[in-house]
Symmetry: D3
Subunit: 239 residues, 6 copies
C-alpha cells in the first residue's frame, strides 16, 4: 500500500505495468485542536481516508507529510507552521519527482483546510503542470464535508467542532480527551490579526459536545465513497 | 483623495495630525471577462468602490495596482498573471513602506477574488504583522456580494456573469459590448487543469443577459455601505 | 488606447491583425518632489508622454505602474520604494506575459530615472530576451532631456528642479503648490549614505523658481517627437 | 511518545514543567536500496532508533520526515530527492517553530547519511542558532556505525550492504526480499557524474549476503546506547 | 598590504588599534576587450589602483574579485557574467563580514563600469547600511576619468579604447597584443538587444591606436591622487 | 596559464583547436589559521597546486576565488564566510559560463575542506550537469592528503596543524610567524554550536611544531602527482 514499502525495481515494474497507477499524498499538520483533540488531528483524518482509498483503488500511498501552514492557530502551544514558499516548494518537488518517475495520476489529500495552506498546494500543482502532463486532484476532505454545512451540522461548526471530533472518535478514540467545549468565535470580518487566538481562547470553533464515533464513521465513509468516484473519473478522463 | 496628489510635506503633516488616517489600496487585474466586458473589469470595480469609500471616510487612496494572479483564465488572450511570490512581495513591500511612514489603518480591496490571488494578499499582510503593529483589512468586494448568492442571484453566477456585468454597466457602460452570453461551466471537481479555459470557452461563468445598470448600482452601494461600517469598526478597534 | 479597455477577443484580434502593435508600459513612483510638487510627479510625466505616444502611434498602453525604486529620497515622508528584486520580477513577469500573448514591440517609459530603478528595468528585459525574441526599448524621458543639460538648463538642475516643475505645470498645474525653492545639493562623491536626505532637506535638486508651463510644454513635445521617431525605427528594425 | 499525540495544552504544560524536554526529529528518505530492501530503508532505521530513544529518555518525537536529498541513487526508480534549499528550509522552519515553543534540546537523527543531505541539516541548524539559543545535535546513525568500518565490517560496505541489510532484517524483516547481491562499485574519484547509477547498477554498495538479524540488533542497540549517552551529555551541558 | 597576509590575531589587533583602518575591495571581470587587450583588463586596472592606494593610505586590500556582470560583451568568447542577484549577494555578504569584524571605512573600486554591474554594488551597499553604521564609497575608476571625456579624449572613447589601452600599456605592457583597431559603434538608442556584439564586432568602442604608456601613467596617477583625497575625506567625515 | 591573460579571440581559438582543454578553478577562503599562519592559508595551497597543474597539463586557470564558507572558525577575527546559497550560486554561474564557452573539462580545487563549503561546490556542479554535458572534478587537496592520516601524521592533525603548516612553509615561508602551538581540540560529538571557537581558542587543530618545509614540499608534490593522473583519466574518460 505504501509506495516506499516497495523496492526500487518493484516500483519500476509497477509503474511500467500500470501507467494508470494512482499515487496519493496524505497531508496533515501539527496544530492546536482544543483541549480534547491531539495536535495530530488533521493528519489522522487524511491518513485514514488515504489508507481506505488505497485499499479500494489499489493505489500507492506516499509517506505522509505532517507539516503545513497554520494561520489562526499559530500562537497556540505546539502548532507548527511552515512558510508559504517552503511548503509550496516541498510539495512541488515531490510532485515533480513523481512525474519524473512516470506517475500520471496524483491525489493530494489534506486533512487541514486552511486557505493559505490549500493555496500553496494549488500553486505547487500549477507549476508542475507547466512542465509535466499529469492528472492531479487536490482537496481537503473538508471540501467535501462542508457541502453539508448548514444542513447536517451548523454552518459555524468547524475547527475541533462536532464533525472533526466525531471523526477522531472514530479513528483514534484513545487520543480524545473528554468531550470538548462548545465555542462560537467571533472574528472581525476580513481583518488580518496578529493574535487571532484571542478570538477563540479554547481553540475550538464549533460544538464538539455533540460529537459521536457513529457520526465520525458516517463522515469518513462519505468522504471515501465520494473521493473514490472522483478519482476513478480522473483516471478515466482524457486530461 | 489620492495619496500621491499630496506633496511629501503635506503627507507628513496629514499623518502627524491624524494617526487614524485610513489608506486604501485598490487592486485589479488585466483579465479576460468574456466577449462583453473589458480586461479591466476587476480593476474598475475595486477602484470605483475605493474612490467612493475615500470620499465617505476622508481616506487616502494608493495608486491602484492592476496586476495580480489569474488562474482559470490565464490562457485567454490578454490575461496577465503574476507569480505568487512576485505579487506577494509587491504587496508586502508597499504595506511595509506605509507602515514605515506611520500609517496604521490599511484596507486592501481587490476587484479580483481568485483564491490564489487572495491568499497572496493575506500572506503579504501576515508577514507585515510580524514586523509592524498595524490594523489591516483585506477583502474582495465579492466576499461581501457572495453572501447573497443563492438568494438574490444564482449560486453559479460569477466571473463576467450577472452581478459583474451589472456593476460595469453602472460604472463604465461605454466599455460593455452587447449583452454577453449565458454560460454555466462544468469544472471537474478538485482537479488542477492545464487548460481550464476549455471548460468555459466563452470566458463567462454566469448569466450576463440578466444584468442591468440598476442592479449594478445596488450592488455597488451595498458594498460601499457595508465596507464603510467595517472600516470604521476597524479604526475604532483596539487592535 | 488602454490595452485593458479591450475585451479578451478584441485584444486577440488586434494582435493577430497587426503583429507590429506597439505596447507601452508607463512607470512612475510615489516619491518626494519638494514642497511644491506632488508625490506623483514622475508618474504624471511618463503617463502624459505615453498617452501622447499612444495617440500618435496607435499603440496600446498597459495599466501604469506607480511603484518603483527610490534611493536618495527614500527617507522623506511618503516615498514608497520597492526592493530591486521585487520590482525587477514585477516588470519581468509583465513583459513575459506580453510576449506570451505575441506582443513583439514593447516600450517601457519611466518618469523616474534613478540608476538602480533603471537597472532593474534593464535586468528584467535582459532576462526576457533569454526566452523570447522581442523588440524592446527602455528609457526614462529624462534620458532624452538630459542631453540638453548644460545647454538649455544648468547641469545641476534635476529632481524637482526647473525642467520637472515646468513639465508638471504643463500637465497638472493644479497640483503645483507655489514656485518651489532653489537648492543645489552637495553630495559627497561616490559615497553610499544612510541619510542622503540630509544633503537636500528641501527635497529639491535644481531651481524650480525658473519654471514655466511653456517650458514644460516644450520639453514634453520634444520627448514625444523624439520617442515617436525612435519607436518607429524599432518597429522597422530587423531585431 | 509522539509530540502530536498531545493536545495543545498538554504540550504547553509539558514544556513548562520540564524545560529540558528533548525533542527528536527522525529523518528518512524514499530511496533505492537494491533489489532486496525497500525504498523506506533509511526511514525505518532512524524511526526505530528514535522511538527507542524516546522510550529511554522520555523524549518527544516529531512526526517523521521521509523526504530528503539523494544524490548517487537519484536516477533509480522511486528515489525522491528534494533540492538543497527546500530541504534546508523545511528543517530550518521546523526547528524555528520548536524554538518558538521553548524547546531547548533538539536531536535530528537521519537514517540517510549523504553528504549533501547532511550538509543541509547543518546549514539549517546554523541559521537557527543565529536567532535562538538552543542545544542541538545532528547526526546520521551511520556516523556512529562507521567508526567501526574496517574493523567489524569492510570499509567499502555501505549503501544496502551488510550492516544496513542486517538492521532492516531486525526492524522489518517482512520487507526484505531475499539476500541481496554483493557489489563493490568503482566510482571515479572526485568526479561529479550525470549518471552515477551506472557505477552500481544493482543499487548496492557492499555485501548484503553476510547480513543477519542478529547483527542488525547489535548495531541498533549500539546506536541507541551511544546516542542515549550523548544526548544526556547535551542536556547536562551548559551550551 | 593584503588583509589575508595577516594572521587572525594580527588582523584583530590592527582593527582594535586603528578603528579608522580603510579596507579596499578591488573588483574586476573576465571580459572581452578587443583583439589587443586581455580578458583581465578591468581587473588589472582596479587592482593596480587599489595597490597604489593601499601603499599611500596604509589601507588593507581584500582578495580581489575578478567576477562581475557584463552585458554588451557577454556573447564574446571568454566573457564571464554573473547574475545580478548572485553578484549583489556576494558583495553584500563580504561587506557584512567586514562590518562584523568592526571595519568602518570601506572602498569598493571596480575596474568595470557597466551600469548593471555598478547598480549591483550599490544595492549591496544599501542593504548593508540598513544593518550597519559604516562609511562606504563605491566607484569605478572610470567615474573619475570620464569627467575628462570630451576634453582630453573623445566622448565616444570607451571600452578597450584609447584610455583603457593606455592604462594597460602602463600596467602590464606584455599583455597588450599590437595597437588595436579603431571602432566607433552605433548602438540603437535605448534598445535592449539580444546580440549587442553585432554592433561592435571588433569588441572595441574607441580608438586604441592613439594609446601610449605615458598617457596610461597619467590617468593612473590622476585616479590615485583623486581617490586618495576622497578616501581621506570619508575617513574624516562624521558619517 | 591564466585564462584571463588571453584576449577574447585567443581564448576562442584555444577552445576551438583543443576541445579537451582543462580549466581549473582554484578556491580558497579568508580564514583564521592560528597565530602562525595567514588568513590566506587555504588560498595559497590551492593556488600553488593549481599553478603547478596548469604547467604540467597546459591547463587554463580561472582567476582564483578567495571567498567561501567557514564554519567552526567563523567567530575568529578576519574570517569571512559566505552563505551557502550565495557561494553555491557564484560557483554554479561561473561553471555555466564556462560551459557556455564550450569548456568540457573542469576541475574545482579548494584549499578549504569544510563539509558545508564542499557540499556547496557539489550542489553547484550537480545543477550544472542538469543543463550541460561536461566532465567535472571537485575536490580539496586535503581529500588526497587525508588518505594518509593515521599513517604519516596523527588522525587528529588538521586545521593549521603539521601538514598545513608544512605546506605554507614550502609555499610562502615569509608569511609563517613562528612555530605555532600544538592543540588537540575536544568538540562535543555531533553538536551544532554557537561558539565552536571556544573549543580551540588557539585556532589550531593539530601539531604545527612538527612542521617543516621539506614535509610541505613532499605533500605538495604528492597532491600534484596524484591530481595530474586523475585529471588525465577524466579527460580520457567517456563521460
Amino acid at each position: 500500500m505504501y509506495l516506499d514499502d516497495l523496492t526500487t525495481f518493484e516500483f519500476g515494474e509497477r509503474l511500467s505495468s500500470n501507467r494508470d497507477t494512482v499515487v496519493i499524498l496524505p497531508i496533515g499538520v501539527v496544530e492546536e485542536h482544543g483541549a480534547h483533540l491531539p495536535l495530530s488531528t488533521d493528519s489522522l483524518q487524511s491518513e485514514y481516508i488515504a489508507e481506505a482509498l488505497a485499499t479500494e483503488l489499489d493505489a500507492l500511498l506516499m509517506p505522509p507529510i505532517r507539516y503545513g501552514i497554520c494561520n489562526s492557530t499559530r500562537n497556540f502551544p505546539g502548532t507548527i507552521s511552515l512558510s508559504f514558499n517552503t511548503f509550496r516548494a516541498l510539495i512541488q518537488e515531490i510532485l515533480e519527482e513523481l512525474c519524473r518517475h512516470n506517475v500520471s495520476n496524483i491525489v493530494i489529500l489534506s486533512g487541514h483546510a486552511g486557505r493559505i495552506h490549500m493555496a500553496a498546494l494549488r500553486v505547487a500543482a500549477d507549476r508542475v503542470l507547466e512542465k509535466f502532463n499529469v492528472k492531479m486532484m487536490i482537496l481537503s476532505d473538508y471540501d467535501i464535508i462542508y457541502k453539508y454545512a448548514g444542513k447536517e451540522f451548523p454552518e459555524w461548526d468547524g475547527h475541533a467542532g462536532s464533525v472533526e471530533t466525531s471523526r477522531i472518535m472514530a479513528i483514534r478514540p484513545e487520543l480524545v480527551k473528554g468531550r470538548g467545549e462548545r465555542s462560537k468565535p467571533n472574528f472581525p470580518q476580513y481583518r488580518i490579526l496578529r493574535h487571532p487566538e484571542k478570538c477563540f481562547p479554547s481553540g475550538v470553533m464549533g460544538d464538539p459536545t455533540t460529537a459521536s464515533a457513529e457520526k465520525g464513521e458516517k463522515w469518513n465513509k462519505l468522504v471515501v465513497d465520494e473521493l473514490k468516484k472522483l478519482i476513478l473519473d480522473m483516471v478515466a478522463s482524457e486530461e
